[in-house]
C-alpha cells in the first residue's frame, strides 16, 4: 500500500521532469565493470576481508544488490570518495574518470534502491501555524500588523526549522493564547486598538557604566579616532537607537533622559534626536555638574510630535562628545568657557573658590572631614579634569494623546467587502462579508452550512449587544480560534490509503506558506478555484509573481534566518571588552547585510552559487568601516562590489562569522562545522563523550588558538572528524569573532592556510571558497533539501534524496538560478502530492 506513493512519485506527472532538458545519466554503470574493479584497484589494499580497516570490508560486496542492502554505508562511502577523503592522500589518487564512473554507478544503484523503498517516517499533513505564520496571516487577512503571536509560547523546531508539523504542538497555554488573541485581534480589526496614554521606557542594552568608566581619562588620540562619518551619530559613544511600533496616529512625547558628565569648564554639549532618519531636534546640554561634582544629575529633554501609526525609528546621539572640552584634554575645538568654581560650589553660598577651604557652620567632625574630602577632589578635578562622556540613560515614549481610535484603513478594506464602518446591517451584506472572510481565513471556499453556522454566531452576539460590528467581531474571533484556521489540512483530498495529488486550494496554501508564510491572496485562490493552478505556465507565473512580492520577505527572514542561523544574531553577546565595536547598530547592520544579500539573490534571480562567492554585498557606512572598505558613506545600505576585498558570498559576512564564533573568540571548529552543514551538505556526527575542551586562558597567551586546536586533533578519535572541520575554519581565521579583518590573534600571527583531507591545500578564505565552489552540486543539494524541509514542514528521508538530486540536476542546467530551484521544488512530487496516511 505504501509502495503506491513511491511509484507515483516517479510517475511522469510533472511535465518538466521528463521534458527535453531532463537530465539523463551519461552512462549506465554496472557493478562488475566499473564499481568492483575500482574497489579492487583503489580500496582493497586496506578494506579487504583480511584487513577490514575501519571495519570496512569491500570484498564482501559482490553485486549491485549488496549496495541496495546497505544504503547508509554506501552513502558514506560515496561522500568520502567524492570529497576526496578516500583513498587517503598517502596512496596514489584514483583515475578521475574511473572515480566518476564508480561514484555515479553507486549513486545510480542507491537511487534505484530508494525508488523501491518505502518512506521511513510518518508524514503529518496537519500543520499548525507557527508564530510567524500566525502574525503574517492575520496581517493579510485583517490588516492587523501588531504581531499578536509574539506572546505565544516559543515554537519548537526540528531539522533546523520552526515550522515542522510534528514538532508543533498545542499546549493548554497556547490554547488560552489562541482564544484570547482571537478575541483581541477581532476587536482591533473592527474597533481599532484599545489605547490609553502610557509611558514605555527603553533602556540602553548594557549598563552605561560599561561604556564609560568612571574617572576615565581619555588619551588625546582617542578624541580623533571617533569618526565623524555617521551622520545620524548612531555609532557615536553614548548614542542609542530604538524601533517602536506606535499604536495609533496621535501625539507622543519622546523623552530623553540623559546622564553623564562633562568636566567643569567645558562648552555646553549637543544632543541630537533623529526620527526616521531625519534630524528632528538638537538640544543643548548644559555642563552637568552638580553641587558635589561627583553625582550625576539626570536631566531630560522632551520632543512632542504627531506620529502616524506604525514602526518608527528613533536615534539619540551626542555627535560631538569630544568637542568643546577644556584645553587640557587636547580635544578638537577646545572650550571657550572658563573653569567656574562657583558652578561646583553653587550651593556653597558665596564660596566660589575651590581653594577656599572654609569650614562650614557645622562643626561635627564627620561633616568637616566630608567637606575636606570634597574640596580635595574638586582641586583634583581642577588640575586633572575628568571626563565621562554623556549618554542616554533612558528614552521614554509617552502617548498617544489626542488620538482617534478606530479600525485602520487596511482593516476596513479587508473586512468591509460590502457595507462600511458603522454601516447599516443587512442580512445579505453580512453574509457577503462573512463568506469572504471565512474563505480567506480557511483558505478554501466554505460551504453554505459553514456560513450559516457563522451567521448564527453573529446573530447571537447582535442580539446581546445589538450592533452589526459586535456580531462580526465574534464571527472573526471564532474563525481565528478554529482548527480550520490554525491548522493547514487538505480538506479537498482528505488523507487516503494511497498517495494522491494535493487539492488545488491545498496547493495554493502550500505555495503561499512556503514563499510568504501567510495565506494565499485572492489571485492564488482564484487560480485554485478555476482548477488551473497546477498548469505549469500558471504555476510558474504565480511563483515568479510571489517571489517578486514584498511578502516574500518572509522567506528571507524565516528561511534564510534559520538556514544561515543568523536569527541567533539577536541574542549573541560578543565580549564587550574584546569587541568594543560590537554595538546594537552593528548587530542590526550585519543582520541586514545578509538579509539584503539573500533578498537580492531571490529578487534578481541570481545563481544560488552566489552564496558561496558572489562578488558583491550590501553595506552601510558603519559596516563598510567594520570591514575596512572605503568609499561607503551614510546609513543607507547599497550594493557594493567586493572585487579585491577578499570578501565574497555569505561565508565572509560578519553575520555568519559571528554566529559561528564564541562570544570571546573565533572557533575554527564551529566555523568548519557550519561550512560542512550549510555549504558542503556533509554535517559531522556529534562529538564523542568527555572531550576535553580548549584551554581558554592559554589561547593567545602561551599558544595560538590554531596550535591548540592542532594539539587537540592529535587525538585519533577526534582527528577523523576534526580533519574535515578544522581546516575549513582555519581558512576563515583572518576574520575575528565579529567578522572584522585581523592579522593577529592576540600576539600570534594568523595562519589561514589549510590542508583538506584529500590533500588539497589552500591559503586564506578566497582560495578556500574556490575549492568549495567545486562542490557546487553538494551545496545545491543541501540548500534544496533545507528548502524542502521548510516548504513541507517535515524531514526529507534518505530515499527522497533522489528527488532532491533530480531537482538539482535540473537547476544546474539553468545555471543554478534561484527561481529554477524554487520552481524545481514547487514542481516536485514531494511538494505536489499528499502522502498516503499511515496506520
Amino acid at each position: 500500500m505504501k509502495k503506491v506513493y513511491w511509484l507515483l512519485l516517479f510517475l511522469p506527472l510533472l511535465n518538466w521532469a521528463d521534458g527535453p532538458g531532463a537530465p539523463k545519466p551519461a552512462y549506465s554503470a554496472d557493478f562488475a565493470t566499473s564499481i568492483q574493479p575500482f574497489f579492487a584497484k583503489n580500496c582493497y589494499s586496506c578494506h579487504s576481508a583480511k584487513l577490514k580497516t575501519g571495519g570496512l570490508n569491500l570484498e564482501a560486496y559482490v553485486n549491485a544488490a549488496s549496495i541496495a542492502q546497505e544504503p547508509e554505508r554506501f552513502e558514506k562511502i560515496l561522500q568520502r570518495l567524492k570529497a576526496g577523503e578516500m583513498p587517503p592522500k598517502t596512496v596514489p589518487r584514483p583515475d578521475a574518470e574511473e572515480l566518476k564512473l564508480a561514484t555515479d554507478g553507486i549513486r545510480e544503484e542507491l537511487d534505484r534502491a530508494y525508488q523501491a523503498a518505502k518512506p521511513a517516517s510518518p508524514r503529518v499533513l496537519a500543520r499548525r501555524l507557527n508564530r510567524t505564520e500566525y502574525n503574517n496571516t492575520v496581517r493579510d487577512l485583517l490588516g492587523i500588523d501588531s504581531k499578536p503571536a509574539r506572546d505565544f509560547p516559543q515554537d519548537d523546531s526540528a531539522y533546523g526549522f520552526d515550522n515542522v508539523a510534528q514538532a508543533l504542538s498545542v499546549s493548554p497555554t497556547l490554547m488560552e493564547k489562541y482564544l484570547a488573541t482571537a478575541e483581541r485581534v477581532a476587536r482591533e480589526a473592527l474597533f481599532g486598538p484599545t489605547l490609553k496614554t502610557e509611558t514605555v521606557v527603553f533602556l540602553p542594552p548594557v549598563p552605561r557604566r560599561m561604556e564609560f568608566t568612571n574617572r576615565l581619562r581619555v588619551e588625546p588620540a582617542a578624541y580623533y579616532s571617533m569618526h565623524d562619518y555617521d551622520q545620524t551619530g548612531l555609532s557615536h559613544p553614548g548614542s542609542f537607537h530604538l524601533k517602536y511600533r506606535f499604536p495609533a496616529d496621535g501625539e507622543y512625547v519622546i523623552r530623553v533622559v540623559g546622564a553623564g558628565f562633562r568636566p567643569n569648564g567645558s562648552d555646553p554639549g549637543r544632543m541630537d534626536l533623529w526620527f526616521d532618519g531625519k534630524l528632528a531636534q538638537s538640544f543643548t546640554v548644559e555642563v552637568n555638574v552638580e553641587q558635589s561634582g561627583f553625582e550625576r544629575r539626570p536631566d531630560h529633554w522632551d520632543l512632542r510630535l504627531r506620529v502616524p501609526a506604525g514602526y518608527h525609528e528613533i536615534v539619540v546621539a551626542y555627535p560631538k562628545q569630544y568637542h568643546g572640552l577644556p584645553t587640557a584634554f587636547g580635544g578638537p575645538e577646545p572650550s571657550k568657557t572658563a573653569y567656574d568654581p562657583c558652578k561646583i560650589l553653587g550651593n556653597g553660598a558665596g564660596r566660589c573658590s575651590a581653594n577656599d577651604f572654609n569650614l562650614p557652620e557645622e562643626t561635627e567632625p564627620e561633616r568637616i572631614e566630608r567637606r575636606r574630602q570634597q574640596i580635595e577632589r574638586l582641586k583634583e578635578d581642577e588640575l586633572h579634569p575628568r571626563f565621562e562622556g554623556m549618554a542616554v540613560s533612558e528614552v521614554n515614549i509617552i502617548g498617544p494623546s489626542d488620538f482617534k481610535t478606530g479600525p485602520s484603513p487596511e482593516s476596513v478594506r479587508k473586512i468591509y467587502t460590502c457595507s462600511a464602518v458603522n454601516g447599516r446591517y443587512t442580512a445579505a451584506c453580512e453574509r457577503q462579508i462573512v463568506s469572504n472572510l471565512a474563505s480567506r481565513a480557511y483558505r478554501r471556499p466554505v460551504t453554505y452550512q459553514g456560513i450559516e453556522e457563522l451567521l448564527t454566531i453573529a446573530a447571537g452576539a447582535r442580539k446581546r449587544r445589538g450592533s452589526f460590528e459586535e456580531g462580526l467581531s465574534l464571527v472573526i474571533a471564532s474563525m481565528l480560534a478554529s482548527p480550520n484556521f490554525l491548522f493547514r489540512v487538505d480538506k479537498e483530498r482528505p488523507a487516503a490509503e494511497a498517495a494522491q495529488q494535493a487539492g488545488q486550494y491545498e496547493l495554493a496554501s502550500r505555495l503561499s506558506y512556503f514563499l510568504w508564510s501567510s495565506i494565499p491572496d485572492q489571485e492564488l485562490l482564484r487560480e485554485a478555484g478555476k482548477g488551473t493552478l497546477r498548469r505549469p505556465d500558471v504555476l510558474e507565473a504565480q511563483v515568479r509573481r510571489m517571489l517578486a512580492d514584498s511578502n516574500a520577505q518572509a522567506l528571507v527572514e524565516s528561511f534564510a534566518g534559520q538556514w544561515l542561523e543568523t536569527r541567533r544574531l539577536e541574542s549573541v553577546q560578543p565580549d564587550r571588552e574584546r569587541y568594543p565595536d560590537f554595538d546594537d547598530y552593528l548587530r542590526e547592520s550585519i543582520s541586514k547585510e545578509t538579509e539584503l544579500f539573500f533578498q537580492y539573490v531571490m529578487q534578481k534571480d541570481q545563481p544560488v552559487l552566489d552564496f558561496i562567492d558572489g562578488q558583491y554585498t550590501f553595506l552601510n557606512e558603519r559596516l563598510a568601516s567594520h570591514y575596512g572598505i572605503l568609499g561607503v558613506t551614510g546609513t543607507e545600505f547599497r550594493r557594493v562590489d567586493l572585487t579585491g576585498t577578499g570578501r565574497s558570498g555569505i561565508l565572509t559576512q560578519a553575520s555568519v562569522l559571528t554566529v559561528s564564533s564564541y562570544g570571546n573568540r573565533t572557533s575554527p571548529v564551529l566555523r568548519g562545522k557550519w561550512v560542512l552543514e550549510n555549504i558542503l551538505n556533509a554535517p559531522p556526527p556529534p562529538p564523542p563523550a568527555n572531550v576535553p575542551s580548549l584551554n581558554e586562558d592559554a589561547v593567545g597567551a602561551t599558544a595560538s588558538l590554531r596550535q591548540q586546536i592542532e594539539e587537540h586533533r592529535k587525538n585519533a578519535v577526534c582527528a577523523s572528524c576534526h580533519a574535515r572541520m578544522d581546516p575549513l575554519g582555519f581558512g576563515l581565521e583572518n576574520y575575528d569573532a565579529v567578522g572584522a579583518w585581523r592579522t593577529l590573534d592576540g600576539k600570534f600571527p594568523i595562519d589561514s592556510s589549510g590542508v583538506l583531507p584529500n590533500g588539497r591545500t589552500f591559503q586564506g578564505a578566497a582560495e578556500l571558497k574556490t575549492i568549495l565552489k567545486e562542490q557546487q552540486e553538494a551545496f545545491a543539494e543541501g540548500l534544496t533539501e533545507k528548502l524542502l524541509i521548510y516548504a513541507l514542514g517535515r524531514s526529507i528521508e534518505r530515499e527522497e534524496r533522489a528527488e532532491v538530486r533530480r531537482i538539482v540536476a535540473r537547476t544546474a542546467t539553468d545555471n543554478y538560478k534561484f527561481s529554477s530551484l524554487i520552481l524545481g521544488i514547487v514542481n516536485s512530487a514531494l511538494f505536489q502530492m499528499n502522502a498516503a496516511y499511515e496506520r
Binding site: 498545542v170 478575541e183 496614554t197 527603553f202 556529534p686
Partner: protein, 446 residues
C-alpha cells in the same frame, strides 16, 4: 492620564513586548477567582533547578544528622537550617549517556528516563514527576502546574550531543512525547496567573462576554470534532492535541463557575517583560511562583534558574566567563573558584524564594511549612559528567510529613525514589517513575 510602567529593556522590546494588556480570557466567565474548596492548606511541590552540576566539596556537609556546618555553597540557605534536608547519595543513572550528558541530565531530572537520541521531531522521554502530580491533583487549581524559567531557549541551533533542544529546554514532560516549555517572560506568567487587571467590573458586561465566548467555544468544538472525523491517523493525533487543550479549558471554566468566588488581588506589581539582568529576572520568577502558590492558583511548580549546559555569564559577579565552559575546569583552582561563585550566586537566588515562602503566613504556620521544595542539579561533577551523588536539598515540611534540619546520606539511590516519596505526601500514589526502585524513606524519621 499617564501610566508609568515598569522599565522595559530594549532587547525585551525588540522581542516584541507591547504595552496593551490582553484581556484575561477566562475572567469573563467568572467575576473573580475561585477559592480553594479545602480548608486545610494544601501541600505544594516545587522543583528548582540549576544547571551544570556542583562543586560537591563545598556543597556536601562534612557531618551527618543535625547541627552540620553549612558548606560555602549552601551558606545562603543557612537561615533555613531548621526547614531543610540535605540529601546525599541520590543519582540519575539514566543520564549517563555520552555524548549528550547535559541533555540527558536535564531530561532525566524529573523523569528518570533516558532520552531517545534525536534532533528531530521524534523526541521520546517519559512523564515527569511534577506532571504526575498535575495529572492527579491539577484540576483542583486554576493552573494544573506552573513551569518557569529564567533563560530563554535558543530558537535555532543544535543542543547537545545529538539530542534535540527539547531535552535541554524543558524539565516538565506531560507525557513521553510532549515537553512543557517553561515560560521565561514574567509578564506573560503574570497574565497567565491573573489575567489583565482591567477586566470589566460590570457583571452585565461580563455575563454578555461570557455568552459570546460560550458560543465561540461551541463553534470551535464542533469544527474540531468534524475535522477530526475526516483525518487520517497521524493528522488526527495533531488535532487531538488541540482538542485535549480545548477540553481542558472548558473543564476549567465549568469548575470556576461551580465554585465559590472570592476577590483576589495579586500582591505583586505586574512585571512588564524580561528584565535585563539575571538577578532581577530570578527575583521576578521567584515572586511569581510564590504568589501562585500562595493564592493556590497552582500547587505544582518548576523553576529553572538556568538551562542545563547554560553558557550564561554573570557579569554581576565581576567576571564574564560563561558558566558551562567554566565547569570544564580541568581542576584548575582559579576556574573552580569562579564556578563556586556562580553556584553561590544561584543558591542566593533560591534562598530568596525560600525566604518568601517562609514569610508567607498560612494557617498556623508558613507557606513553606506546607511546601516541599527541591533544589539541585542533575549532575554532581560536571567536569567529568558524573550523574551519581547529585546535589539535592529539600526545603519545607510538607505539612508535617517531613522532619527537616538534617543531612542524610543514602547508599546510592535513584532520585526518582525521592520524587515518589514527595508525590505520596501530596496524596498522589505513583508506584514507578523512570528508574525508581521504591519510595525514599528517612524523610520523616528523626
Amino acid at each position: 492620564m499617564i501610566v508609568m510602567q515598569k522599565r522595559l529593556s530594549r532587547r525585551t522590546f525588540l522581542r516584541g513586548v507591547g504595552v496593551t494588556v490582553a484581556l484575561p480570557w477566562l475572567d469573563a466567565m467568572v467575576p473573580a477567582f475561585a477559592a480553594p474548596a479545602d480548608i486545610n492548606p494544601p501541600i505544594r511541590l516545587v522543583f528548582a533547578y540549576v544547571p551544570n552540576g556542583m562543586i560537591m566539596d563545598e556543597w556536601k556537609p562534612k557531618t551527618v544528622g543535625k547541627n552540620f556546618e553549612f558548606p560555602r555553597i549552601l551558606k545562603p540557605l543557612e537561615p533555613f537550617r531548621e526547614d531543610m534536608l540535605v540529601l546525599t547519595g541520590l543519582a540519575h543513572r539514566n543520564g549517563e549517556i555520552a555524548p549528550g550528558d547535559h541533555a540527558a541530565a536535564s531530561a532525566t531530572y524529573l523523569t528518570g528516563v533516558a532520552p531517545k537520541r534525536t534532533t528531530g521531531a521524534d523526541v521520546l522521554l517519559g512523564i515527569s514527576a511534577d506532571q504526575v502530580a498535575a495529572l492527579a491533583i491539577g484540576s483542583k487549581t486554576r493552573l494544573a502546574s506552573l513551569e518557569l524559567g529564567c533563560e530563554a531557549s535558543p530558537s535555532v541551533g543544535s543542543c547537545d550531543g545529538g539530542f534535540g533542544c527539547a531535552y535541554v529546554n524543558n524539565l516538565s514532560w506531560r507525557n513521553a512525547t510532549t515537553p512543557i516549555a517553561p515560560e521565561t517572560n514574567p509578564r506573560v506568567v503574570f497574565e497567565r496567573l491573573y489575567g489583565g487587571l482591567d477586566t470589566d467590573p460590570d457583571p452585565k458586561v461580563r455575563a454578555r462576554l461570557g455568552e459570546n465566548r460560550k458560543s465561540m467555544l461551541d463553534y470551535i468544538m464542533n469544527q474540531t470534532e468534524r475535522l477530526a472525523g475526516t483525518l487520517g491517523p497521524s493528522d488526527r493525533r495533531k488535532i487531538d492535541e488541540y482538542l485535549t487543550s480545548l477540553r481542558d479549558i472548558e473543564k476549567r471554566i465549568a469548575r470556576m463557575e461551580s465554585e465559590n468566588q472570592r476577590e483576589l488581588t495579586p500582591n505583586m506589581e505586574k512585571p512588564l517583560g524580561v528584565p535585563n539582568g539575571f538577578v532581577e529576572h530570578a527575583r521576578l520568577m521567584n515572586d511569581l511562583l510564590r504568589v501562585a502558590l500562595q493564592a493556590d492558583l497552582t500547587r505544582i511548580g518548576t523553576l529553572i534558574y538556568a538551562r542545563e549546559s547554560s553558557s550564561r555569564a554573570y557579569p554581576e559577579l565581576g567576571f564574564t566567563d560563561a558558566h558551562h565552559p567554566l565547569t570544564h575546569h580541568r581542576n584548575r583552582e582559579e576556574l573552580i573558584e569562579k564556578v563556586k561563585k556562580i553556584e553561590c550566586h544561584h543558591a542566593e537566588q533560591f534562598a530568596h524564594l525560600v525566604k518568601n515562602l517562609k514569610a508567607a503566613k498560612e494557617g498556623d504556620g508558613s507557606l513553606l511549612d506546607h511546601s516541599m521544595v527541591v533544589y539541585g542539579s542533575s549532575m554532581s561533577d560536571p567536569n567529568r559528567h558524573v550523574h551519581e551523588d547529585a546535589p539535592c536539598v529539600l526545603l519545607g515540611r510538607g505539612d508535617g510529613s517531613i522532619k527537616p534540619g538534617r543531612h542524610i546520606i543514602y547508599p546510592e539511590t535513584p532520585q526518582t525514589n525521592l520524587r515518589l516519596a514527595l508525590l505520596e505526601r501530596m496524596g498522589v500514589h505513583a508506584e514507578k517513575l523512570g528508574d525508581s526502585t521504591g519510595k525514599l524513606d528517612g524523610l520523616t524519621d528523626l
